[in-house]
Symmetry: D2
Subunit: 423 residues, 4 copies
């Protein structure tokens, strides 16, 4: 059950990052080597994260919301084969036509697919065969990037870029999904026994926004997902946003004050979810002899009061804010406060629930075709999270990034920071 150093230092944003992100799409001349390096950087990170996992570990799907490691490895590969190589690499040989059905995810326009809930039942191809599939596609993408004409490259790079960010999203899911899977094992196995959650940056007080009309959404030449556009005006009301994240210590105070047993603190749907699932603490917490412990990537560990609370659903975040007589910030209050540099630990610790329902920016239209299914079709019943987490790959997040989950979900590294209006 040994583990490598796979996922030890995932958030060192200060380190030199030559390979990722790739150059802006519009940069000329096109730096083919930089794109190839970015491609390999991302592809290698996936394998680095999968490395500590046995074939058995990589096989299983522990709930409908999660996917097997092997599936993540294959599906991200299928993405490049389906959207890039089929169309743009002359003479490309499909690795195995039968894999198409197995490793499509939710792209209805890309044809029928294995039901999500049954992803864990595909034992063949096995982990080794998926490695061969990855190698086959990697070689072909290399060839494409090296040999494509300038005109083809213009069509290829936007798809390649989205493919890289797409694979990074699956890198994060790979980690959160395996944590969920291991949490079902009474033995509490460790993904990496040396793994540690990063310490919080000392911070206190609030950053006070004066209010007014400002612009939010994607700007500039870098990458963004379609749900960050169009850039548009929003009105910020005068408000205060906490510099620090809510900690385990604060959460324990909420619990001690009956936080999980007082329905008046909860949204109605939240109370139903909490009762149905028997929530008495954040996800993966368990009473262990003297006190609270938690299933982590390093196995079962005592709760550290100084760390930001995580594995929190929106319902819990909302109840906590009500208990504290504060609010969650809106996604735009968060964005403006982060842009101004006032937030500690905005990135690399926990995704932060906002009180903004996930919805389209004014005038948003999905792109045509299968890639149009990427973000727009999920714009109901979910809430926006901002920032990034300990599991987010380096270079993936940005101030305008919009993550989204259902309000009952808590297997991600999700936490919160508080805010309030100054009316």
């Amino acid at each position: 059950m040994a583990a490598t150093a796979a996922f030890r230092d995932p958030i060192d944003l200060s380190a030199e990052q030559p390979a990722f992100p790739p150059p802006p799409l519009g940069a000329r001349p096109v730096d083919r080597a930089a794109w190839i390096a970015a491609f390999h950087h991302v592809r290698d990170e996936t394998e680095r994260r999968a490395a500590p996992l046995s074939p058995e570990d990589q096989q299983i799907q522990s709930m409908a919301d999660a996917s097997p490691t092997k599936w993540h490895r294959a599906h991200t590969t299928w993405f490049f084969e389906q959207f890039l190589l089929r169309q743009y690499l002359p003479g490309y040989t499909i690795h195995d036509e039968r894999l198409h059905y197995l490793f499509n995810s939710y792209y209805v326009a890309a044809g029928p697919r294995q039901p999500r809930i049954m992803r864990g039942l595909i034992t063949r191809p096995n982990a080794e065969e998926v490695a061969a599939y990855r190698a086959h596609v990697d070689r072909a993408v290399d060839a494409l990037l090296k040999e494509a004409s300038a005109a083809v490259l213009d069509a290829v790079l936007p798809i390649l870029e989205i493919g890289l960010y797409h694979e990074q999203q699956h890198q994060e899911l790979l980690i959160t999904d395996i944590l969920h899977a291991f949490a079902q094992n009474p033995l509490g196995p460790a993904y990496d026994s040396d793994w540690r959650f990063p310490a919080a940056t000392p911070a206190s007080g609030t950053i006070d926004l004066p209010g007014g009309v400002t612009q939010v959404g994607h700007a500039g030449s870098g990458f963004s997902f379609d749900n960050e556009s169009p850039r548009h005006d929003v009105l910020i009301l005068p408000c205060a946003v906490d510099r620090a994240l809510v900690t385990n210590a604060q959460w324990l105070a909420f619990m001690a004050d009956g936080g999980y047993s007082r329905p008046e603190l909860w949204l109605s749907d939240g109370w139903l979810a909490a009762q149905a699932e028997g929530w008495e603490a954040p996800g993966y917490w368990r009473l262990d002899g003297d006190g609270w412990a938690s299933m982590t990537l390093a196995g079962i560990r005592p709760i550290d009061p100084a760390l930001p609370v995580h594995h929190i659903s929106y319902y819990e975040a909302d109840a906590f804010a009500r208990w504290a007589r504060r609010d969650l910030p809106t996604e735009f209050e968060w964005e403006v406060a982060a842009r101004d540099g006032g937030l500690a630990d905005a990135f690399g610790h926990v995704w932060q629930w906002t009180r903004s329902a996930y919805t389209a920016y004014p005038g948003y239209r999905p792109v045509e075709g299968a890639l149009g299914e990427y973000n727009g079709k999920f714009m109901s019943n979910q809430f926006v999270l901002r920032g990034s987490s300990v599991a987010t790959p380096e270079g993936h997040a940005r101030t305008g990034y919009r993550n989204f989950f259902y309000p009952h979900q808590r297997w991600q590294f999700t936490g919160l920071r508080l805010a309030n209006y100054r009316g």
Copy 2:
């Protein structure tokens, strides 16, 4: 199976309205007679709506979202007994202590209650006994309003007022719930065979909002629910809102163009709901010989293309807008357009889905106690609807009124109007 004229002309807003709404809370001297008249006006309307229904009709609950007519009649009565008479009428004799458990709804703070799904299983008290309960409480409220001191009246009237608007909400539900119940009966019984959906006002084109910061939410001395406050600034972007509602004719065009069979038009959750429930048309529609018909309050009737489409879920409204390459308006775009008088049939036909998730206004805090459970705890997973419907009692709605339902629900009289940005 005869029906009375019970629910024949519910939307004549131009008629003289002496009894409802009651005077503003702050008006002095307090006009006790006007309050008593308003109280009886509302109480009588409930009975008028129940009158065509047999004891059997009043008994049943056809789904978890609906309630029996008898329960609506008793629960609205319990509201006055629980929040008004218990506390403020000296010497008041509780009609029957055992009814408390049966007719509380979701007020957790008011104690345990009959599970919602089992409301249809309470045959005793019967309809006649509920009538006696209503009469008992009506007499006591009369006495309270006549005899209370001025100081007591100051405490009483705000509760009375919310009780009246609360009962009006149940009047609307009484109608929509019995329609759902009758729709389960293969014989398609009529609530009132003379009932007709009101004709649409001729209208075309859009009202164009120039954009800018404006105030929304409750203002003035009239009644509003807590979710309409605090009044606050919002930013309207330049947009166009259709004057007319979407009609059945337009909906039939959507259906003819594969609206219910093209997943690319649908939200992901919406597509799942549509498949799971087998949606191929709006709620209650059925193919009937030559064409489409619908279960209505007058029984099964052919679809009239000129009427506004109704019994539409948010998911369907959203798919229709995507198909039409338009948007739903936000709740504030709707409010500003309605305030400016530009919308036809804003009230009295169908509730209109907006693209705004139902959430708290900035700085909103629920009131303390059981009445604080009225609106705030439902602020997740639902969408705001604006306007009012054919089933809404006279005098109930207003421009700032925020109705809300889950995006899959369609047993209400729900429809839509379209909008788009002019970026």
Copy 3:
């Protein structure tokens, strides 16, 4: 909420019974008056049982296994219309063609039908209209029996006879179903506040069967259901069958000895059912202040230790027998012991679970057509009960009668007596 004397003395088998059962089918000359009297005797008993129930009481269906009183009244009427009048009464006018769909039960061959689970949603026709339906059919059956030619009568009487026994079965269900419905009402209403469970006949010891080959199943000229044939040889092993039924006192001893918390006493499926439904005592029992009470037809009453235990599932009966280191008798051991007159309270108290799975007698073949669906298609997953209960109409049961229910069901008046082998 008053009740009449409706169901006060249902088991006085010693009373003169001129009207029921009707004459044997083969008796010549045919005594038309006796058949008419039997018909009215049965039809009147149904109405006598329904009389204490309000229109609301008659409307509801409290679980999938139960049906509304109104449905029982209408379905038994439909049976005569469908199988007798349609075919054999010239010029018969169907009361209302639309009722056919509503009141068919499970006769697949008789056409589509209202889903069982939705029987409680049919408010129209109402109770009064069902009374009119009954009267219409009663008049027509009268006319048929008076005026039919001898040849027609030969075809009619076997169907009439099965219709009468069929209606008696629904009379029993009417009582057990309304008890279940009332048990869902927290107020615990009484069907008849003067109702009492009949006292047990003093009895002790066993009747010892010597063993050997004997014949079981239907013999003679009286009525029997098809599942009691063919008469055939069975081998009885030497065994002892208790003369007395198991009492509440004995059941309390089982409970005190951990009967509901020791999995080793239970069948695997039984333990799952007991855990899933939270069984800690027989059906309808509840702890009430000082001790155990039970919901009964007279409302909530203290447990009487001397009465036979009832509302027991097969799983509980089996666990009790295992705890007592005894067996349940097979259905044939019961039948032979009852035939020999050795059993106390074999009839009129509780149906008695046997350890015999409900299966076909050797060589059994269902009759052709819809009436062939009566018994044969239920021959899996159920157990045979013998005897009859306090709710069984007079004249309905006999020594060879085979009742059957699923092993988890306990809303019937079901109990047990013990036995064991003497190997």
Copy 4:
């Protein structure tokens, strides 16, 4: 995806069988070497069956009724550790105490255990570690059998014997469970591409039993499960039992005659199951281009009309018999016919459904303790199957053997032969 010769010739009963079954328990002197050989024979067969399966294949659980290969390998090992080594081998070191929770199955008396439905989520220990567990226990059992005193051996051998037969049962399940798992993979992988279902023995006509009292159940000195006792008298009625099994050709005739669409042929519960699961053919059958094919251990193969039909539920077997105007035999009719040598292919092809519900033999009492949970607690809602299947290990079955499954289950190699009474 290569396969070894693992499961190529499983039914050659004529081959020399030196190792299994072991000597009768009462044989003296005790032949320790023979017992050790039998032990290794059984243990090796499990590994031989698992050999073609990758770590991924061994990991998954494709439905609640099935278990992972790895679990079968570990659970059978746990059985020897729990019931043999813990108690009887002085100084035995438990391999890993934590495995106890993971690999107990349903033995409530042996303590808490991993929920059945979550067996597929245990990735650690992995397949290799389970091999080490098996080796550890094998060595210890070797030592015990070699070194135990005669007195200890007397206690040990009955437990060892049941452990061997227990492991053989899991050998059969290992095969049927992996077939089910592979059938969920759209690629239809082969367990062993050279595997073939054994050809049927030519046979026709019936064996006619004259009827009379005879003895059934276990006799003699060989092994039997407790559910085969006590031996007792039964009465056989004159009947005819087919010599041959029902074939695919006959089943295709049933299908062509509407067998799956005529409710009158089906038990009520069976029809519900068939509709709910969409049965139109035996388990694993699919329309494949020109005709019917089936998922088999060799992958997807065309249906061979000459083979006995298999993957049939009891409900289907019963419907087929009704369609053929025949019966299924009772388990005792089957046993007597088999004893008399009249049946072709009684063993080694398909388990044969009988019309006997699975219940206790007269006077049966489970043994005390955890091993008492082996058979008795399943005696409800299941039917007896007789014979053995292509997946049954050599030497496992016998004429009196009682297998049992729920009537809806069809992932086993289950088929039927017909019979009828000669009244």
